[in-house]
Amino acid sequence: MERLIEEIPNFFTIWNVIFLAKAMGVTFLLTAIGCIVGFSVGGLLAIFRKTKTILLLPIRIFIVLYTEIFRRIPFLVSLLLFFYVFQIIKISDDLFLIATITVCVIATAYIGEIIRSGIESINQTQWDAAAAMNFTYYQTLKEIIFPQAWKVILPPAFGFFIMFIKDTALASQIGVMELTFAAKVLNNKGFSPLLSFGTILILYFILSFPLDRFGKYMEKKLASNRN
């Protein structure tokens, strides 16, 4: 314990603080881009998946295959797969880009499924009433289905986002300098593991706590079932 206390002034040097802040920025960016893209594209996939027109059948089949495959592959496996595919076909060797694309692909599959189940939780009678009054598919979603489905979509979606912050740690496996990798580097430089990993534990909490509060706020705002 004494050694730990002695280490603290050397640990929190300007260089280390900037290093950890940059790593935190990478973790934040990976999560934020994954969540925003996942929510937008996943939402579109869910909306297309529920359509009935025969013209969109190939798109629906693609969506089902995409969702079912990427939800079943561990994040680390997808990450390594993209890493090697990118190397083989020489698209880019930017590790952050590879990690970001993997994160977006996985988040889209998961969040798309969460949104789909939210849409399907709304009783068919609501769709029938809307159709009988000439609401289009998109008007029905906007005015009737989503306002009721938020309360089903938001809790698991924000649960996924928070889990996702932690999962981005796996990007360290391909060498992305995010929080976990930064802690490993500091540990390898001789700082105690307790201090290195204890610090990023607090930083992970600082990232995830506001997101959790934001999720609660959005649930209250959107999911109250009252316009």
């Binding site: 009678t125 159709a131 609401f135 316009n227």
Partner: protein
């Protein structure tokens, strides 16, 4: 020329043949009641008319025009003329009473919001719910929800109104109120198709009664004949049983 004419229509839920060779014509201002045991196809027939169940064969004419149920503009056209009140009310759970009644006329029919609001208030007053404008469906009783659903359908200014078991959730006092509203609508010349198990109501308000069983129309007759001198044995059995149970 009949306002609605159905010629040999057949419809299915997946493989289940729910409407078999339906032939029916309804004139403007007529009140036609559909009776029959549960699962006989009465509600399915109403759903078919508004395109919630697409007929697989047969023709449906509205004011002499053949309807193509696979064509979106035909569907839109029939839904502008026909409004339906569902057995389970199907009110939008995320909207208060006033919004439930006014949303389709303003957002879909693009009518003047002020004018729609006035009409909605008038209709809700007519069905005795003026003090519930800000209430949500889950704060209302079944009877109140049913009356909101009727006001919502009427606010669309339809030419034809389809009523699916609207009195099933109402207590006797409210049944009278709803019947009075329907009588008023009938006097105004509104064409109506009514599915009901309330035989006294059917007998009182209907111009003609259609008895259905197992997806088919068994008999069409005037109310007096169908209840007192039915032509078909199945009608006699059904009516006899219902009247005996009463």
């Amino acid at each position: 020329m009949p306002q609605i004419e159905i010629k040999s229509a057949n419809a299915y839920y997946d493989k289940l043949h729910v409407l078999k060779n339906i032939k029916l014509s309804v004139d403007k201002g007529e009140i036609v009641s559909l009776i029959g045991p549960s699962g006989s196809g009465k509600s399915s027939l109403l759903k078919m008319l508004v395109g919630l169940l697409i007929p697989k064969s047969g023709d449906v004419y509205l004011n002499g025009t053949l309807i193509n149920y696979n064509n979106q503009s035909d569907l839109r056209a029939i839904r502008e003329q026909i409004a339906i009140v569902f057995q389970q009310y199907n009110l939008f759970q995320n909207m208060n009473v006033l919004k439930n009644v006014s949303i389709a006329p303003t957002k879909i029919q693009k009518r003047n919001p002020k004018e729609v609001n006035e009409q909605a208030l008038f209709l809700l007053e007519k069905v005795g719910l003026k003090d519930k404008l800000k209430s949500y469906p889950d704060e209302l009783s079944g009877g109140q929800q049913q009356r909101v659903a009727i006001a919502r359908a009427l606010c669309l200014n339809p030419e034809i109104l389809l009523l699916d078991e609207i009195t099933s959730a109402l207590d006797p006092e409210l049944v009278k109120e709803v019947l009075d509203s329907i009588r008023l609508l009938a006097a105004e010349g509104m064409t109506m198709l009514i599915v009901s198990h309330e035989m006294s109501f059917v007998r009182e308000v209907s111009s003609r009664v259609v008895f259905m069983d197992d997806g088919s129309i068994i008999e069409i007759n005037n109310p007096k004949n169908i209840f007192e001198r039915p032509k078909e044995k199945r009608t006699l059995d059904f009516v006899g049983k219902i009247l005996k149970d009463k």
